[in-house]
Subunit: 349 residues, 2 copies
């Protein structure tokens, strides 16, 4: 954690209440504001501050610009068997994706597995949040989201795919500690490039390119990030576009590459019910956890972690000790609060 001068510490409940207040005053319904705030603060509790409450000013701006539709009423537009398709009507991303997580789980209980695609969502945030919801219901959850070109397509010098993320969560015997893989298809988060720029550090090989599409280690020259593992990252991202966007008739990449403007986003959640597979899932997944935790650490490494485990550790700490919010972030949130007449959390501002 940074020193007291760099951050202000806010309790989880207070931060969530503040975030809800800002989003509600910014134009979302009370329910949509609460759902969005819960997702953002979840990311903050796990130490993923880049996906946390610092997004709120932009979300409010997106409402003002009409990019997020506060009057959206997400509606199921197609369904067959284990599949449901929902049109989110540009509702806040968390609202659409929460519906997908719930619907996929219900379909999985009925059919062994379920798949809910949600088209026309807006920014979904940290998608591990939706996969984890499915795992908390005792199911395996898979979440993906798709958006406009933001990353080099392997072999091209131009952005051709998004950094489309995928998250996979599996329940264990400890409801507080599922396996939770949450990864983007990019070689590096753009936030890390920005941090290197601020710190005057060079970039690692394979991270980013300059305006000519040539790899660069100079963060000041970065035009775009490279895909994770070259053709694997851009290929996986492209297939997520197929699964999340093309399959529901709301293509993003082909539209964005042929015309101006932001085509929005799409998402999906799939769920699998271990009971449909006839195994003793929980016992075996616990054994897998023990086997991985028992691996000998690499030199300089204290502990071998399971996917998502660091985030759960951080979350326990931040629920107990409060969430450190960077002064720059807090300043922007307080300015917005002042503008929207939202009370600041106790002891802050």
């Amino acid at each position: 954690m940074a020193g007291a001068s760099d951050t202000s510490v806010i309790g989880e409940a207070d931060l969530r209440k503040f975030a809800t207040g800002l989003l509600h005053a910014g134009g979302l319904t009370a329910d949509h504001a609460e759902q969005t705030a819960a997702m953002l603060v979840w990311a903050n509790t796990r130490g993923a501050d880049s996906h946390g409450v610092l997004r709120i000013p932009r979300y409010v701006e997106m409402i003002e610009l009409g990019l997020i539709n506060p009057a959206a009423s997400p509606t199921q537009v197609f369904a067959k068997g284990a599949v449901a398709v929902v049109d989110a009507q540009n509702a806040p991303g968390a609202v659409g994706m929460n519906i997908a997580a719930r619907s996929a789980g219900e379909l999985a209980r009925a059919h062994g597995l379920g798949w809910c695609a949600v088209r026309s969502i807006t920014h979904a945030g940290a998608i591990g949040y939706y996969a984890q919801q499915v795992a908390q219901a005792g199911l395996i959850g898979i979440a993906m989201t798709a958006s406009k070109p933001l990353m080099i397509y392997h072999g091209s010098r131009a952005d051709g795919v998004s950094t489309n993320p995928i998250a996979i969560a599996a329940p264990t015997s400890d409801p507080q500690l599922p396996f939770l893989l949450d990864m983007s298809t990019a070689a590096v988060a753009i936030g890390k490039v920005m941090a290197a720029k601020d710190a005057g550090r060079s970039l690692s090989p394979g991270w980013a390119v300059d305006e000519h599409g040539m790899e660069t280690s100079d963060p000041r020259k970065v035009k775009s990030v490279l895909p994770m593992a070259g053709p694997k990252g851009s290929g996986l991202s492209l297939m997520i576009e197929v699964l999340a966007s093309v399959l529901v008739g709301n293509p993003l990449i082909s539209v964005a590459l042929s015309q101006d403007g932001d085509p929005g986003g799409n998402g999906l959640v799939a769920a699998l019910d271990p009971a449909a597979f006839g195994s003793d899932f929980t016992a075996d997944v616990d054994r897998l956890r023990s086997a991985i935790k028992g691996l000998p650490p690499a030199e300089g490494v204290d502990e071998v972690y399971l996917p998502g485990e660091r985030g759960f550790e951080e979350s326990r700490k931040r629920f107990r000790d409060g969430i450190p919010i960077a002064q720059g972030t807090l300043k922007r949130l307080l300015a917005l609060a002042s503008k929207l007449n939202v009370p600041a959390p106790a002891g802050v501002g």
Copy 2:
């Protein structure tokens, strides 16, 4: 293609017949031999020779050792809704995975999506083969396989996960040219490390470690390969173990890490029916293909490729001109043919 002295060229049909003959004489039933040969030669046609007929001597050895069960009769052991679980009884990998591809497709036609898990398979080969079968039926196919620890787990100095691959195929309007992503979760194929060793070349950063678990660029010192993109590759591999192995009650990693011996393998194929999503899938996927093909190539790159496209190009060429087989591979196959009394292809041996 290498010079005439390095390779012998064999037509696709001749090579498939030869491979079938060897596998049948080696102990497989005529049907299982044919299915296995078709999968191996498919890899050869695409230029993936490391997954082609060079595997046959080892497959025959596995039959002799009882690792592949030529009398296996794969049986559905559990089913619910859109899910089927098959016990392959250590049948040849292609036999189990072909069942999964067919079953997943049938389930998808009925339920919108389907998932067939196959436990106790043996070496599945190039898993793009199974995903492509699903795409050829007009559906989206996803295939994964799991095996024993073969790769460093991120943060450890020991092998803790396999190089578990995932393949995703989507149909387009051209049945000969689906999207076909087929990737392992390793940073590099072990075959590339071997090739660098033979050529006296250094390894790229992030590829492999020595016996102390320290990264090395010396191919002679390689003890194990690293995961693709660090925690992403080992995390994705671990989740494939959860989906393919833990979910069907045949865990591989926890068993292999706690006792000796090879626990075998598991696989799965999932299928999605575009008709269940209400979109004009083929038109939109074709548009996506055009958009990607229209991206400006990077410096030194002639053409931007879609996932799997290079393999389809090579396949057209090799179907027309024949498949070049390395002399070392051919020599081993001919020795086996001689031992098993199998006639060599015309003009060879």
